[in-house]
């Protein structure tokens, strides 16, 4: 196998507002190589690849791509068309297929002249069949894509890139939607293709598949490349340490003795529609003066857990007690009434009603309260005063309490939600990804508020994909995987990382 370089990323950086998605990342790829790009959620893997494919324009840095003869040329940035033409193909995590047309039509879409009276389907079919034979990727060509299985659809996506003569293939979490058997087949196909000279980057956070199928591993963490090694020299421990970092942050909260349980879940199961909202036999206790951290790779049942605690889903079986009182057939209103405060994952859609004013959003969870209404009429002045007071106390900045809530920035929307939740002094706080997408200052504010609530005697369930956040805030950490909870034996990030990835601790 030749060792010529086919791709070089030089010092790529990308900011989204105050958030640094990529910071001066260098990466190179050799011909016929499988490079695994590893990292936690939000580490910047997808952003990096989107810059390569021209979806995002980097703030600084450059990209060199080899032509067919193997000479490196700088790639004009920000043009998916140019990236395609230079032989870079990308398979997104979310498929970009039209379901009402056949696989063949999806593959040839865009590569034929639009206004020709006749199509040369025979020629196209011949070329696709040759690629299928060479790569081992097969899919029925004439069935509408809507009727294909997920595995077949993914093969169509890859065939799309190969049909455009991709020499570099980027796969964004290709196995996320596949069964283990489909994943194995996919990796065999990838091997077959790299033997033919294709170079592959695949994004993953599954250690096992990375170790068995890649040649080289690059690890991103907080937008920076923190390590690179040959797969032959790597083992699970060293990669896990690189992914999550070696230093364990100090526990930010003071020592407090946990009090009585504020939330007990006994053998709770939810048959969800997908893996992300399925729970299996969950047992969990959160006590007063305690923050329980839920760690896990996204889509492992976090949504299911949050929905049960918020009263949005009724579990198929199991017991839920809030403050010692059993909640039968929970509803959101019952849970709020029982003292649960909710900081939802999607703050823009589930946290606020964007068209309503800031003041109205601040009382929206307690419209029956006599402080808010009297005989069904809203007490506008009281609502107004309440909003002024909370805005000051929680530093909600924006165009004023009468302005529609959607005009606030993400950080201020989160402060609005915090004000609404904490002002009621809830017994239990459900915080689902409370700092995602916030800048450092706003994130620190959220952490401080959670710690204050803990000191006051509330229990907190903190769901986060950021292990640093959990380690610095949570008294205790459990790992959620495939809808099951596993108690983490300690605060060892390596071990937690391994548990998240599905390895026995």
């Amino acid at each position: 196998m030749t060792k010529s370089t086919v791709l070089k990323l030089n010092g790529l950086s990308k900011h989204f507002g105050p958030v640094i998605a990529n910071d001066n990342v260098d990466l190179s790829l050799n011909k016929g190589e499988v490079l695994a790009l590893l990292g936690e959620n939000g580490a910047g893997k997808t952003t990096l690849m989107n810059m390569l494919f021209g979806h995002y324009l980097p703030d600084s840095g450059s990209i060199d791509v080899a032509d067919e003869a193997g000479h490196l040329h700088p790639l004009p940035l920000g043009y998916p068309q140019v990236a395609l033409a230079s032989g870079v193909g990308m398979v997104h995590q979310h498929f970009t297929l039209a379901e009402n047309i056949s696989a063949l039509d999806n593959i040839t879409l865009g590569s034929e002249p639009l206004f020709a009276l006749r199509r040369n389907r025979r020629e196209a079919r011949r070329k696709i069949e040759a690629i299928m034979a060479q790569s081992g990727l097969t899919a029925p060509l004439d069935t509408p894509v809507g009727r294909l299985s997920v595995g077949e659809r993914q093969r169509v996506e890859i065939l799309k890139a190969l049909y455009r003569d991709a020499r570099i293939l980027v796969l964004d979490e290709p196995t996320a939607v596949l069964t283990p058997q489909e994943a194995d087949t996919l990796f065999q196909n990838i091997r077959q293709m790299t033997d033919e000279g294709l170079s592959v980057i695949f994004i993953s956070h599954k250690l096992r598949e990375v170790l068995s199928f890649s040649d080289r591993i690059a690890v991103l963490r907080h937008g920076k490349k923190v390590g690179e090694m040959l797969t032959a020299d790597a083992d699970e421990k060293s990669i896990a340490r690189m992914m999550v970092g070696a230093d364990t942050p100090e526990l930010a909260g003071s020592e407090l003795t946990p009090g009585d349980p504020v939330l007990t879940m006994t053998d709770v199961s939810v048959p969800g529609r997908s893996k992300r909202d399925t729970l299996t036999g969950v047992n969990m206790t959160v006590r007063a003066h305690e923050i329980l951290g839920i760690a896990g790779v996204s889509g492992n049942g976090q949504s299911g857990l949050a929905n049960v605690i918020a009263g949005l889903t009724r579990p198929e079986q199991g017991l839920i007690r809030v403050d010692g009182v059993e909640i039968t057939s929970p509803t959101p209103a019952k849970m709020v009434g029982a003292g649960v405060g909710r900081i939802p994952e999607d703050r823009h859609h589930e946290g606020i009603v964007g068209a309503m004013s800031v003041a109205e959003n601040m009382v929206i969870e307690r419209l029956n309260d006599p402080e808010v209404q009297s005989y069904g009429l809203l007490l506008r002045e009281d609502i107004q005063d309440n909003a002024e007071r909370l805005s000051k106390a929680y530093d909600v900045r924006g165009p004023g309490v009468d302005a529609p809530a959607r005009l606030l920035s993400g950080g201020n929307i989160q402060k609005l939600i915090l004000a609404r939740v904490f002002d009621r002094s809830p017994r239990l706080i459900l915080a689902n990804q409370p700092t995602r997408g916030l800048d450092m200052g706003a994130a620190a504010e959220v952490g401080k508020r959670l710690l204050n609530a803990r000191a006051r005697g509330a229990g907190v369930v903190l769901i986060s994909e950021d292990l640093d956040e959990l380690l610095s805030l949570a008294d205790r950490i459990v790992v959620i995987r495939d809808g099951e909870l596993h108690e983490a034996p300690g605060r060892d990030r390596e071990q937690i990382g391994l548990m998240m990835a599905g390895e026995p601790a």
Binding site: E99, N100, G110, A116, R118
Partner: protein, 314 residues
């Protein structure tokens, strides 16, 4: 009962059905193209009026019949472009924009008509399209009078059914239009322009709608009246669903509606003394609602219909 059978077997009934169906065929095809690309065009009712007015006026001003057809198509395409700009790159509500286009286009047509002819009580007549009298074929029993005595515009409508079917199912352009109506990301990822495809489909679709209007003033009648479109555009919107967005079924749906309408006129004269005439006027609409209820249950909507798409947001 015998009366109805007699009607159904008469040549004039079927000839009338096809004649009534013609503007609907244009309209359904136009709406179908727009919706296949993912954009609902409720401007159709107004675009019918524009087509009727512009086509007629162009002929009246001396453009010739085919010149009138061209002017009608261009005018329809212009209002389609307006709808396209509002709904595609700007991503505004397709319902609101469409209804706005209908109100705007209708009023603009009436205004133009009144400005050009401020003082006439009955509109000036033009010499409309005449039935094509094809030798031999026109003399065939039954088929001769049903098929071969229609005007050139009816033939154009039937031809367009075939053309639209061919384009949608046999050309790369058709594949791209269907794809952009199902998942715009699929088109974008392959380097085609989502905006270009959608705008193009809406403009062409709107031009076809305007031909439906032009048929009214240039073939069915010989002058322009206020209110002459009379809901035909809305019927087309329903027929598209009935047709499951397929040109062949669109033809069938238009013919079915045409037959209902032709039947109701004849029933009125047969049994008009017993039942108020308004009941018969309702018949085609009631029957289309029933047909729609049956057909729409299995309707396979273009998945991206009504959903605006913006570049760079995925």
């Amino acid at each position: 009962m015998m009366d109805i059978l007699n009607i159904l077997l008469s040549e004039s009934f079927w000839a009338a059905s096809l004649r009534i169906a013609t503007p609907l065929i244009f309209g359904v095809l136009g709406a179908l193209i727009c919706e296949r690309a993912g954009v609902l065009n409720l401007g159709i009712e107004g675009i019918f009026v524009v087509g009727a007015m512009c086509g007629w006026m162009a002929v009246w001003l001396g453009a010739g019949l085919w010149g009138g057809v061209l002017v009608a198509a261009l005018a329809g395409g212009f209002f389609g472009l307006l709808h396209a700009i509002l709904t595609v790159p700007l991503g505004l509500s397709q319902h609101v924009s469409g209804l706005g286009i209908t109100l705007f286009a209708t009023s603009a047509s009436y205004y133009t008509y009144r400005t050009a002819l401020p003082n006439v009580s009955s509109p000036p007549r033009i010499e409309p399209f005449q039935p094509l009298d094809l030798p031999v074929l026109s003399d065939l029993p039954f088929l001769g009078s049903v098929l071969f005595q229609q005007t050139a515009l009816t033939w154009l409508a039937l031809l367009l059914v075939v053309v639209v079917w061919y384009v949608l199912n046999r050309t790369a352009l058709g594949v791209a239009i269907k794809a952009v109506g199902d998942n715009p990301d699929s088109v974008d990822a392959q380097g085609l322009s989502v905006y270009g495809l959608r705008i193009g489909a809406i403009v062409v679709g709107s031009a076809l709608m305007a031909l439906g209007g032009a048929f009214l003033t240039m073939s069915a009648f010989d002058a322009f009246f206020f209110g002459m479109v009379n809901g035909r555009g809305w019927v087309c919107i329903a027929l598209v669903i009935f047709a499951s967005w397929r040109p062949g079924k669109a033809l069938l749906g238009a013919l079915l509606f045409g037959a209902f309408d032709a039947l109701q006129v004849r029933l009125q004269t047969e049994v008009g003394a017993l039942v108020p005439g308004q009941v018969f006027l309702m018949v085609p609409y009631v029957l289309s609602i029933i047909a729609l209820v049956i057909a729409a249950r299995s309707a396979d909507y273009p998945r991206a219909l009504l959903t605006p798409w913006f570049k760079g947001q995925r």
